[in-house]
């Protein structure tokens, strides 16, 4: 059988949209299915972790007792709605987790117990259960078998179906040595035989971690989430104090307040909306990454992505298509363009490298016509192809009529022409230099008619082709305040030309892994957060050092271990999306916090006049919503407070609309929508609810 070349695997850069996630059940259905889960979360031991919701829970318990002792239509309604608030708060988290669960279930199916063929020290095979494998064991896997655990290929090369984890049906190449040696347990070998050294214990494999991540089981609060939680706790504390201080003041003023009323006021004031949705926002952020086939090993990394101010991008495969392509041909001395195109075409016919194919494609696209025989035709007619070797640094063809064509590095072709008695074209050096300056690779073409000395026909301009749309994306990033640095092994001249063409802010040419590391450290010392993508073992230290290190799934185990995210599609351009998702996560949090606090103003206008209008009739002037009665006003505020949580669950899961804009523009926009919106919405909402509530007998 023939193995696809490594080049073929290299060019396997799936489009991120070609692999849509399976359609998800509707949100309402997930919510319904998550309801039992939400109810089990009413356990106070769980709720303590969400202090705001915990306060609501205490309030619900308190009003329950009070309304048992002294049942009134008002106290029972408030109690029911307080419990609803608590359940809705848990529902948000349950729904977010529920979405991950479906994904985890699919992954679990791949974790069936496999039988591993372990190699003993004397290279005999023995059958053991996949669960009994230890780190360092060597196992043999052949076509049709499932790889029993995570590891590195140490012998052989095989095609592997990784669709179980990536959802990508096209098989990938895994081979020993190099940067494509990592295999994942649970994936299937499609062809050939490989020997794998196991690198992780059963139960700690990549798939196990993925399951834990998508289920949210391993979720820890991220730094910013903790900071926000602290602020919410302090706000809650202030409101607890304000409400507690209200009773003595009320008594002084001549009206002892019912405890139910105080609890209702407290629950309305504390930031329940954001308190309830906070963890759902975090889980949903991770989930959005999973939808893009990126696994974040920690929520911290997702948050850091929003803060990134320097993006390191490898040139090859990220900014440019991995391969150089023919972009132009420049004839020299008396040669014509058609002549040069034809020679270039002939010399590349048997050249299976992407560069070679691109020359054929280019020649045809440029309207080459006439005698266009295919390679097999030429061979049948007696032509002989000269393959590229490291010694000659040329390839070409000797035709049956004795004429010969060669293409290759300028010096090699020059040497051949000279040896065969030909003369140098006077302008060849100019053309070669011109192409080098433009960041291209020059390939000189020479031809020899039978019995004549050979002559140089011209130069093929091989060029790194920048992917379309890159400049626009970099412009967007610049608007966000993110600097892009292109990393390349090219010489500075070539690098500068490509950097210019792609529109990156800076480049690092002739980069070694050490250079990369130095650059990251320098950026970090300047207070900038750095994101990068990488796949090779020599990328591992840099991946570990970067604040956001995205390892390609095709990469080595070392790289995957070092990074804090893994891109299952192995698409480095996804870094840009990851930054967007990180920002969206933070914006969602901020927007809902602002909304939550802005809501309180309307609630005060509903509740405070209702509380004291009997002792201070003048306070009725503050009842600007003209609510029906004190009881209906308070109940409406409580109901609004509960319903707004449900109403905002979809937003917290989807994330607020995010557009890459500069900070001040984003702030203005979000402040208008969530700040001013949060101020106005409850006035309308509470009024509408009051219109309905006032119909309930016993509240009028």
């Amino acid at each position: 059988m023939t193995l696809p070349t490594t080049q073929a695997a290299d060019s396997h850069v799936p489009d991120k949209y070609s692999n849509p996630a399976p359609p998800r059940p509707s949100l309402a259905r997930t919510a319904w299915a998550s309801l039992p889960q939400a109810l089990t979360k009413l356990d106070p031991r769980h709720l303590v972790r969400q202090p705001v919701v915990f306060v609501v829970w205490i309030g619900s318990v308190l009003t329950t007792i009070l309304s048992i002792i002294h049942p009134t239509a008002f106290s029972i309604s408030v109690t029911l709605w307080l419990w609803a608030t608590t359940i809705f708060a848990n529902l948000a988290e349950a729904v977010a987790e529920g979405r991950g669960k479906a994904q985890a279930a699919t992954l679990r199916q791949t974790r069936v117990d496999t039988v591993a063929r372990r190699l003993t020290d004397d290279d005999r095979e023995e059958q053991v259960s996949g669960q009994d494998l230890r780190v360092g064991d060597r196992v043999v896997v052949e076509a049709g078998q499932i790889i029993p655990g995570d590891g590195d290929v140490i012998d052989g090369v095989a095609t592997v179906d990784e669709s179980a984890i990536t959802g990508e049906s096209a098989p990938v190449i895994r081979e020993s040595g190099g940067d494509r040696c990592a295999v994942t347990g649970g994936t299937t070998v499609l062809s050939d035989r490989i020997v794998v050294r196991i690198t992780s214990k059963p139960g700690e494999t990549f798939i196990d971690r993925m399951i834990a991540l998508v289920e949210g089981a391993a979720r820890q609060k991220t730094p910013n989430e903790i900071a926000l939680s602290i602020l919410l706790v302090v706000l809650t504390l202030i409101f607890v104090l304000a409400v507690m201080a209200l009773q003595p003041m009320a008594i002084y003023s001549g009206q002892r307040l019912e405890l139910v009323v105080l609890v209702a006021l407290l629950v309305c004031l504390i930031p329940t909306t954001i308190g309830a949705l906070l963890s759902a926002i975090g889980i949903a952020g991770m989930d959005r990454l999973v939808q893009r086939n990126v696994l974040a090993m920690s929520g911290r990394a997702v948050e850091a992505a929003g803060d990134v101010s320097t993006l390191l991008l490898d040139k090859t495969g990220t900014i440019t298509y991995g391969n150089r392509r023919a972009a132009d041909v420049l004839p020299v001395s008396a040669a014509t363009r058609a002549e040069l195109l034809h020679a270039a075409y002939l010399s590349s016919l048997a050249d299976e490298t992407p560069e070679g194919r691109s020359i054929v494609d280019y020649a045809l696209a440029e309207g080459l016509s006439g005698d266009l025989a295919s390679a097999p035709d030429l061979v049948r007619d007696g032509a002989e192809f000269v393959p590229f070797t490291a010694q000659t640094r040329m390839s070409g063809v000797d035709l049956a009529d004795g004429s010969r064509v060669r293409k290759g590095a300028g010096s090699a072709v020059a040497a051949w022409v000279h040896a065969e008695g030909g003369h140098m074209a006077h302008d060849i050096d100019d053309k070669v230099a011109q192409i080098s300056r433009a960041g291209g690779t020059p390939l000189v073409v020479a031809a020899q008619e039978p019995g004549m000395p050979p002559r140089q026909l011209g130069v093929i301009f091989l060029k790194d082709v920048v992917k379309p749309g890159m400049r626009e994306r970099f412009d967007q990033l610049r608007a966000l305040g993110i600097r892009t640095v292109m990393i390349t092994g090219d010489n500075p001249l070539t690098a500068a030309a490509i950097a210019e063409e792609a529109g990156v802010d800076d480049f690092l040419a002739e980069a070694t892994p050490e250079d990369k590391m130095r650059l990251i450290k320098a950026e970090q010392a300047g207070g900038r957060l750095v994101a990068m993508a990488g796949d090779g073992t020599n990328d591992a230290p840099a991946l570990a050092q970067a604040d956001v290190g995205v390892a390609m799934n095709t990469g080595t185990s070392a790289a995957k271990e070092a990074g804090n995210m893994v891109d299952l599609d192995s698409d480095p351009t996804k870094l840009i999306d990851i930054v967007g998702i990180g920002k969206q996560l933070l914006i969602t949090r901020g927007a809902l916090t602002t909304f939550s606090i802005a809501n309180d103003i309307a609630k005060y206008f509903a509740i405070i006049p209702a509380m004291f209008v009997t002792v201070f009739p003048g306070l009725a002037a503050l009842n600007i919503m003209r609510l029906h009665s004190p009881s209906s006003a308070m109940l409406s505020a409580v109901i609004f407070n509960a319903l707004i949580i449900v109403a905002l669950i979809p937003l917290s899961l989807k994330g607020v609309a995010y557009r890459p804009l500069a900070a001040s523009a984003l702030l203005r926009r979000n402040l208008l929508v969530y700040g001013v919106g949060g101020l106005i919405a409850p006035f309308i909402g509470i009024k509408l609810i009051d219109l309905v509530v006032s119909l309930i007998p016993g509240l009028a």
Partner: protein
């Protein structure tokens, strides 16, 4: 002229003078706190005190120094007042132990709440050696803490935030003393008295007896205002003709109150190397100040039945506008001086003066305290709104993370917690309730005002509350002490953790904090947070009274 229009013109006049004065003063303050050299007299002080002026302190050491200095000052002042009977020029004046303790805490914490009446509680020695000295050093302490916080923002990857003893000494000697000398002379020229005379009893033309007080008034008056202290030589404070005889001294006193708080915003801008930031803070402070003054002036005219507005409790020589401007300046700066009786303001007017304090003393706030107060609010604002631009919130390149938001939130919760807790308890405690002059909403306002004033280290009195009794003396004393030193400690902790950080460079993705948008946001957050905390209490006090 209509009082509101008069207030507008007054604001304009004050604004113009501040613009002229605060620029050089702010620059001077900047030089003072970034100077490498020590004055000879300063070196003498450091040598005597055993301080190495060239070793800087971490925030913990700095905080310990501030608190230790505060506690020592309280102890000294308490003792001094208790033993004043044996001291010269004491005129036989005395205070009981709890009043003395309240006074000692009050002057040390820059509150200057006075449970005693100046004429009967403090002789000339206590006034000069005790109270006036504290008027200087408590103000200098506030400036020092503000400078330490600004250093925290200005420095990167640093451990130290300055040396408290150096900051204290320089603020006293290089800033407060020279201005006080000039200001004192100006006040004397304006007619404020300065002598060591005992009270003179005279018989008036109608045959009645009148006691004419004497004393070193001008020297204490100037620092009372300049250091945003507010403790009057006389019980009537700046309403007394010997403290504040004319409209001109009234203007001078308002300016003395405002110059350092506003000048410090320039110092802030210079120290962090971005004057726009300082300018924005000044504009925010000024907007809050002007807004409050205009609303109060409106309340005082709208509430009055007379064409001239409500003159009850106000001095004829100041009128409504200049009473309101003085009241707004002193309640907005933790000064606590009064030139009119706030109790007699219309319900809304009195409520607005109370709200100035409830904002946390940031319009423009006391010397130093105003700046660090508003920077703490800026940090909370940045945190809330900064998330909305999709980055971890940052102020001047410093990330507002878990530690920073904790300290900022704690610093801002201390005052409301004290006010609400002690107002509530005192309203139901019979001993404290009996101290109220009024009943109903106005009585609630009296109590609320007292604890708001103490917990903001303002010292302004609403009048009407007979505060000289053990419960109120002790709880108000507790509020003053905790509010002052807890907030300072959290602020310094904040400074320390900011100083340790790297500075993240500003990019297009950074939320700018010098723009009008941020200014509006900062004002919004300051008002909303205070409003949410105090709305129920205000509804039962001033608002209920106004709407009845």
């Amino acid at each position: 002229m209509h009082p509101v229009l008069q207030t507008v013109l007054g604001l304009g006049l004050i604004g113009v003078i501040l613009l002229v004065v605060c620029r050089p003063l702010g620059t001077w303050l900047y030089r003072v706190f970034t100077d490498d050299k020590h004055w000879r007299v300063e070196r003498l002080i450091y040598r005597t005190a055993g301080v190495n002026p060239d070793s800087e302190q971490r925030w913990t050491r700095y905080a310990v120094s501030v608190v230790a200095f505060g506690v020592a000052s309280v102890a000294f002042l308490w003792l001094l007042i208790l033993v004043q009977g044996w001291l010269p020029w004491s005129l036989g004046r005395s205070q009981n132990w709890h009043t003395a303790l309240n006074t000692a805490i009050s002057f040390t914490t820059n509150t200057n709440w006075q449970s005693y009446a100046g004429e009967v509680g403090a002789g000339h020695t206590v006034q000069m050696v005790g109270l006036t000295v504290q008027n200087f050093v408590s103000a200098a302490t506030g400036i020092a803490v503000a400078i330490a916080l600004v250093r925290g923002l200005a420095r990167a990857t640093a451990q130290a935030i300055g040396n408290f003893w150096v900051d204290l000494t320089r603020a006293s000697l290089r800033v407060l003393l020279p201005i006080a000398v000039v200001g004192g002379i100006l006040l004397m020229l304006g007619g404020v008295i300065q002598n060591l005379a005992s009270p003179t009893v005279i018989t008036t033309l109608t045959g009645g007896e009148q006691t004419i007080q004497g004393g070193p008034v001008a020297s204490q008056e100037v620092i009372k205002l300049l250091g945003t202290n507010g403790g009057g030589f006389f019980n009537a404070n700046s309403a007394h003709p010997f403290e504040n005889p004319t409209a001109w001294t009234n203007l001078l006193e308002i300016l003395l109150v405002l110059i350092i708080p506003f000048a410090l915003t320039r110092t802030y801008g210079l120290m962090i190397g971005d004057r726009r930031q300082g300018r924005l803070v000044a504009i925010v402070m000024g907007t809050l100040f002007a807004g409050a003054a205009l609303l109060t002036a409106w309340a005082e005219t709208a509430a009055a039945t007379l064409q001239t507005g409500s003159m009850e409790g106000k001095e004829q020589r100041f009128g409504i506008a200049w009473s309101v401007l003085f009241g707004t300046a002193t309640t907005g700066t933790s000064t606590g001086a009064v030139n009119s009786m706030h109790e007699s303001y219309s319900p809304l007017g009195g409520g607005l003066l109370m709200l100035n304090m409830m904002l946390g003393e940031v319009s423009p706030g006391g010397v130093g305290t105003g700046l660090y107060g508003i920077l703490v609010m800026a940090i909370i604002t940045v945190f809330l709104s900064g998330l909305m631009v999709g980055r971890t919130p940052e102020l001047l390149g410093k990330t507002i993370g878990r530690r920073e938001i904790t300290y900022a939130a704690l610093a801002s919760i201390v005052m409301p917690a004290l006010v609400l807790t002690f107002t509530a308890i005192s309203l139901v405690l019979p001993t404290a309730r009996d101290a109220l002059l009024a009943s109903g909403p106005h009585g609630l306002s009296e109590m609320l005002y007292a604890f708001t004033s103490a917990s903001n280290n303002n010292g302004s009195a609403f009048a009407g509350l007979s505060a000289d009794q053990p419960w109120l003396n002790l709880t108000l004393g507790l509020c003053m002490f905790v509010a002052r030193f807890a907030i300072i400690t959290f602020t310094l902790a904040l400074a320390g953790s900011l100083a340790e950080q790297h500075r993240r460079p500003a990019t297009a993705g950074t939320m700018p904090t010098h723009t009008p948008l941020f200014g509006v946001l900062l004002i919004g957050i300051i008002i909303v947070l205070a409003g949410l905390t105090f709305f129920p209490a205000l509804a039962l006090g001033p608002i209920a009274e106004a709407l009845s």
